[in-house]
């Protein structure tokens, strides 16, 4: 099973992080040096990917259109599903990035039983729902972590923590985002396992990030609510990383180092995997192009500059005589003098 190898990989990472996090000597390695390197790999990797993408030509104008294109004035245009201008494209991209509209449009074919079984297509919103829950809670969690990387803590983080812990359950308070995050990532993983057609197309590289991110969330929650760690000590360590003033207070539970090993793996893995869709979405020609190929000419960068465009008018100029001879209608007639009789034929 394709899910087995990712499971083994994640377990190996957890064991490695735990073993290295157990002794003071190697804590520096997994707790400070590894994440620093991982962060650099993440940044450089993303930049390289983006530069690479931006060097790839887009030969054709291929926006996916999901609505009525701009047409006659009395036909209602679907501006953001069939964008006609740059500003429409920008709105469409913003909606895609913040609301995942293309996932929202997901449909599902099913058979409705009745007197006669009937095929029907209905909306299938689970993927969109879990996807958006996952991404937004991930964002909240990343932002909350800034309390460990800024001193004095960035304004606004406290407010975020306050609203996230609004239900005031337990001490330290349980964050709602943690629960939603774990629920969503679990659902996304189970979806791949139990739906036969999704399982069929799932690869190691689909399961691995899900399992990795699940383990990151799980170790994080265990650290906060079960093992209990010295958070002030951890902040000393994390502040050491961002101010390049490396320290290890030496009072930190190994679970922290497991968490950090997994997060570092995620940062390193990110630019080289499907996870780069975060940057890739900006480079999707099916999303970032306007459907205006009739109004503006899209120049294919692959075109040989020596091959000049050949318009219809030029074409007719070149072949007018043959066309007229073959009774093909022409836009511009032959010069009148020598072809008086042929003109009649044409107007017939």
């Amino acid at each position: 099973m394709k899910v087995l190898r990712p499971i083994i990989a994640v377990i190996a990472l957890i064991v490695a992080g735990g073993v290295l996090g157990m002794s003071q000597g190697t804590q520096m390695l997994v707790g400070v040096i590894l994440p620093s390197i991982a962060f650099l790999v993440f940044i450089v990797g993303i930049i390289r990917k983006v530069v690479d993408w931006s060097k790839s030509p887009v030969p054709f104008k291929i926006p996916t259109t999901c609505g009525q294109a701009k047409s006659l004035s009395f036909i209602k245009e679907d501006r953001f599903d069939c964008p006609n201008s740059k500003s429409d494209v920008i709105v469409r991209m913003i909606l895609e990035i913040f609301l995942f509209r293309s996932l929202f449009r997901n449909t599902n074919a099913g058979v409705k039983s009745g007197d006669l079984p009937k095929l029907h297509y209905g909306p299938s919103l689970w993927l969109w729902l879990f996807g958006i829950m996952f991404h937004y809670t991930f964002l909240v969690i990343v932002l909350r972590h800034l309390r460990l990387f800024t001193e004095p803590v960035l304004p606004g983080i406290g407010l975020l923590e306050y609203f996230d812990g609004f239900v005031q359950v337990g001490a330290p308070v349980l964050y709602q985002s943690d629960l939603i995050f774990m629920g969503a990532i679990t659902a996304l993983f189970i979806r791949r396992l139990i739906m036969p057609q999704i399982r069929y197309i799932s690869l190691d590289t689909d399961y691995f990030p899900l399992l990795l991110i699940f383990s990151i969330g799980a170790t994080g929650m265990l650290m906060r609510h079960y093992f209990r760690v010295d958070v002030t000590g951890i902040k000393e360590l994390t502040m050491g990383i961002v101010t390049l003033n490396w320290t290890n207070p030496g009072t930190i539970h190994p679970i922290f180092f497991i968490h950090v090993t997994l997060v570092s793996t995620l940062m390193i893995y990110f630019p080289f995997s499907k996870l780069t869709h975060a940057a890739g979405i900006f480079f999707s020609p099916t999303r970032n192009m306007a459907n205006d190929s009739r109004a503006t000419r899209h120049i294919n960068p692959w075109n040989d500059p020596n091959i000049k465009p050949h318009s219809y008018a030029d074409y007719e100029d070149e072949f007018r005589q043959f066309m007229v001879d073959a009774d093909i209608p022409v836009e511009k007639e032959l010069p009148p003098a020598p072809a008086a009789e042929k003109k009649e034929e044409v107007t017939e």
Binding site: F39, F42, I43, I46, I47, V50, V51, S54, K55, S56, P57, V58, L146, R147, F149, T150, E151, P152, V153, L154, I157, G158, E161, Y162, Q168, G170, A171, P172, R228, V229, D230, V231, T232, G233, K235, E236, M239, V242, T243, L244, N245, T251, H253, A279, F282, P301
Partner: protein
């Protein structure tokens, strides 16, 4: 590179966001670990210092449940042999006489604002401390 201008702007935004944390801390200046003022006249907390550092809120939560839900108001014995009330105001704050100079020093550093003080009274701070909230 196609669309060079746009790509470079995007990359610049990415870099600024990614490195802003480092830049912020460079300009924000002092990054000192908190030094909560230890109570004078006592040598030990209610439990081991390691446990208190990481899990004092768990202990407080346990105390709260025991006192309010189960009515177990009996005193607790510290390793030092002192009997303390299972209480936030009369227990913890009996020894840790300043919220500002003890609890808040760590909490500001770790960005935690326990909501306990919405109801519970903090000890009156001496004039030189910040005003008690």
């Amino acid at each position: 590179m196609y669309d060079k201008g746009k790509v470079l702007i995007g990359l610049a935004i990415f870099l600024v966001l990614a490195l802003s944390v480092v830049g912020y801390n460079m300009t924000a200046g002092d990054n000192k670990k908190p030094e909560p003022e230890k109570p004078k006249g006592y040598t030990a907390c209610v439990k081991s210092t390691d446990y208190m550092k990481s899990s004092h809120m768990v202990l407080l939560n346990e105390w709260r449940d025991e006192v309010i839900r189960e009515g177990k108001r009996e005193m607790v014995k510290t390793p030092e042999g002192i009997m303390v009330e299972k209480s936030l105001q009369n227990g913890c704050m009996h020894c840790h006489t300043s919220k500002v100079k003890f609890c808040d020093r760590c909490h500001e550093y770790a960005s935690v604002k326990p909501y306990c003080w919405d109801c519970h009274l903090a000890p009156v701070e001496p004039a030189d401390g910040k005003e008690a909230i």
